[in-house]
Amino acid sequence: MPELPLLSLLIWLPIAGACWVLIAGERGGAARSIAFAVALVTLLVSIPLYTGFETDTHEMQFEEYATWIDAYRIHYHLGVDGISLPLILLTTFTTVLVVLAGWDVITRRQAQYMAALLFQEGFMIGAFASLDSILFYVFWEAQLIPMFIIIGVWGGPRRIYATIKFFLYTFLGSVLMLVALLYLYREAGSFAILDLHHLRLGLTPQILVFIAFLLAFAVKVPMWPVHTWLPDAHVEAPTGGSVILAAIMLKLGGYGFLRFSLPIAPDASSELDWLLIALSLIAVVYIGFVAIVQPDMKKLIAYSSVAHMGFATLGFFLVFRLLDAGDVQGAMLGVQGGMIQMISHGFISGALFLCVGVMYDRLHSREIGDYGGVVNTMPVFAAFMMLFALANSGLPGTSGFVGEFLVILSSFKANFWIAFLAATTLVLGAAYSLWMYKRVIYGPVANEGVASLSDLNRREFAILGALAIAVLVFGIWPAPLLDLMEPTVRHLVEHVGQSKLGPGL
């Protein structure tokens, strides 16, 4: 079989498609059909990536290598392993749904909206697939631009504040990462991520590099206390923007921890893991409480995102405690749990934002207080939302359960109190998800607006249906995903277990 450059195709197809959409322009509604076709083709192209992926090695696969900037030894180097592949698949899957979700809803400058989504997709896949740190950085930063436009043009009343805050926050975090990368280049003489993994560094430089990375990734995840841009961005973003943001962009932060922080600065990570664990637990517990009292549905889901992503980072940084105890299996469990949590959060939060979008399109309100008794007029929708709300609170049988369970399991092996605090999410998650669900869906019909609601149309049904299947499949049978990640995670855990302090440092 002739080797197609699948990864390049996945990156450039959406970008080329976006240009096509822009050229096609606003006339005649062709833009959305083109955008949908492009997104669908991209999804199809990503399937051979999965079927052709060998699950018995941690080596990079589907590698592509070309010289990009010769003078500075920067290469166009792509490849995927068990960590990046699921995230790429998540991206291609989600983009199709998001394009569909904007079908009738975005009426103003639809072509630009669709183009921005496709640009976003290309850049995100590029970031996940890059094996050169500068290439990664370029994609990482570039994707701020379409999101900036999406929130700013199609967002809510405070969109400008939100989008500028979003851009500045993330940019501040990432420029320090750039300095760290340049520093690493000076030490290693290479920008290749895999070369950086083998670089020996003293503890002080490691800690500085770690902190620089932490700022970049913590803002993106986002971790407490640098999460404040997220609720603003989510509330103001149009539905599609929120979905992309929650389902994929946040994952870049978690991905960054696994790809950069842990392997490049393992000793610093080990030294500072208490900090990361503490921040993650604060995110889980404190932000969980904050979520309960939100009157705005989107804000509530945004805070629940912060809490759920706290689980992912918790899973990643439990590694060192478990390795110290000699429990490699437990450490792997934590990382895998974190990864599953990220994927599953992609489905669930995406779905919940879409649910809010469905209601918002009809009544133009996101306030919980404006709803009540929706089940009377939208029974099918209520059933879907029930599933997603339960998944959000970690019901066994849904994907939300698997990740949380694995992380809690591994945290039990590390320390009882960590596990205790982490497990409060099962209570808090249920509290904020289900209480919101109860207030919005049940009860008597609250007002005339709710009374006039019509149930899901076919398009909305298809979107939510696809997500519901994903949530259930990965909840009941997460084995394929775990198998996919296993060798990579094992290698990662073994890698971070070895000190990289140079001799004499």
């Binding site: 500075y72 950085y137 370029v138 930063e141 570039a142 989008t163 500045l168 420029v175 750039l178 340049l182």
Partner: protein, 478 residues
């Protein structure tokens, strides 16, 4: 001493341009009234010819001629080509600008050509005398250009400020030069450098001379705290002149800095690195922070220039060949971006409407999605967001600063760049997120649109593939 005929070949582009500029003056005198466009076309043709000549005469080895006063090397050749290229664009935008406002005068083009000639001499200077000659030729032409619109009191004020402060800077520079001459006994930069390497101990007078030279150059570059003239001149001058002042002379000033500090004063590198570090940090801070408070786009871009100069100095601060190459890349990229940004103001303007207030950009996306996109490209490139070339410019100087073990400086620079991002984003915000109040029709023709599109797309293309230009800068500096 017998008279030796100097080798003219390395200076052929300058000679050609001098002749052509005089020719343009004559053509303007005899045909200017009936065929005003001849002047423009001839000026453009001279530039093209001159650029081709520069490329054809690209020196494999650095050559010095005219008794050690004129040098042609890789750096000067590359800088010249880009100065000419930038001026070519500038004249194109200028013609549109002047046509619309009935300001079209032949002198404009003659002065521009002479200014370019000055810049070319400046970057090729091998002696303090040639350097000063080039500098003054450039500066005097620019003063006159700023004052071109006699009716405008703002322009006259700007010209006056520019002239007085420029003269002050020249005086400072001259004073520094005289000290250097006093210490070393030579005007030739090579002799001055040799003096430092032989002498062993560095004269305090030499360092004093260096201080004056750095101050003079900082004035010309517009680095803080010698930046006061920049905002006033940028705002007051006709936009087409601002466009010129803000682009090509920056490249020339970089050349001057390299000639003086690297060619002439390498022996006191440690001293000038310290001075430039202060200038650089101050410029980035002042430029980026004060730009936030501006409501006039030209003024905002003036402060952004100051910030860019701070960044540009970083590469020189690194003090290595690679660092100089990075700075050279930066200045070329900056000239391209400045060209686009001021060009955009010209493109959007019309008679009686300068389009230089930030509010004039409101809702541009509704009037013209394409131009709105170009504004996005230009602004984010200036802010240093990938995938635009402005990112690579910042990236390359930062890389050299980090390689020179000054991680703290790189950190300060990036944090200030984030502050700078805010005001660039504000322009993008106005263009995309705000509703336009008035739908002022766009009067620009296809030719200007093609020009600005080429300009902005070059920034995008160079951002995706900066390799060639980077390599060019690296080889030019050997």
């Amino acid at each position: 001493m017998p008279f030796v005929t100097p080798e003219f070949l390395p200076a052929l582009p300058e000679i050609l341009l001098a002749v052509m500029a005089c020719l343009v003056l004559l053509v303007d005198l005899y045909f200017g009234r009936r065929h005003p466009s001849w002047v423009f076309l001839l000026a453009q043709a001279s530039l093209v010819l001159c650029a081709l000549l520069c490329i054809a005469l690209y020196p494999e080895e650095p050559t010095t001629t005219f008794n050690g006063t004129f040098r042609s090397d890789g750096m000067s050749a590359v800088l010249k080509v880009f100065m000419i290229l930038v001026t070519y664009f500038v004249l194109f935008y200028s013609k549109f600008y002047l046509d619309v406002r009935d300001l079209f005068k032949g002198e404009y083009f003659v002065l521009s050509l002479f200014a370019v000639l000055g810049m070319m001499i400046l970057v090729s200077a091998a002696s303090l005398l040639t350097l000063y000659l080039g500098l003054e030729l450039m500066a005097l032409c620019l003063y006159a250009l700023v004052a071109l619109n006699r009716e405008s009191s703002m322009a006259s004020e700007a010209a006056m400020k520019y002239f007085v402060l420029g003269a002050l800077a020249s005086g400072t520079l001259l004073y520094g030069m005289s000290l250097l001459y006093g210490v070393t006994g030579s005007l030739e930069l090579d002799r001055i450098r040799e003096y430092q390497s032989v002498g062993g101990e560095i004269d305090i007078i030499l360092v004093l001379g260096l201080v004056f030279i750095v101050v003079g150059v900082a004035f010309k570059l517009g680095a803080a705290p010698f930046h006061m003239w920049v905002p006033d001149v940028y705002e007051g001058a006709p936009t087409s002149v601002t466009l010129f002042v803000g682009t090509a002379p920056k490249i020339a000033a970089f050349g001057m800095l390299m000639r003086l500090l690297v060619d002439g004063l390498a022996g006191v590198q440690g001293d000038w690195i310290e001075m430039l570090t202060i200038l650089s940090v101050l410029s980035m801070a002042v430029g980026n922070i004060i730009a936030i408070a501006q409501t006039n786009l030209k003024r905002m871009l003036a402060y952004s220039t100051i910030a860019h100069v701070g960044f540009l100095l970083l590469g020189i601060i690194a003090g290595t060949r690679a660092g100089y190459a990075a700075s050279m890349f930066y200045v070329i990229v900056y000239a391209l971006m400045g060209l686009g940004a001021f060009g955009m103001i010209i493109v959007l303007g019309s008679k009686g409407f300068e389009s230089d207030r930030l509010d004039d950009f409101r809702g541009l996306n509704e009037r013209s999605p394409w131009l709105a996109f170009l504004v996005l490209v230009l602004m984010l490139s200036m802010a240093g967001v990938p995938p635009f070339v402005g990112f690579w410019a910042k990236w390359s100087v930062l890389r050299e600063v980090v390689a020179a073990d000054q991680v703290w400086l790189a950190t300060v620079a990036v944090v200030l760049a984030v502050i700078g991002l805010f005001y660039y984003l504000r322009v993008v915000r106005l263009v995309y997120f705000e509703e336009g109040q008035e739908a002022a029709p766009l009067v620009c023709g296809t030719d200007v649109k093609v020009m600005i599109s080429t300009n902005a797309l070059a920034i995008l293309a160079l951002g995706v593939y900066p390799s060639a230009l980077l390599a060019l800068c690296v080889t030019a500096l050997g």
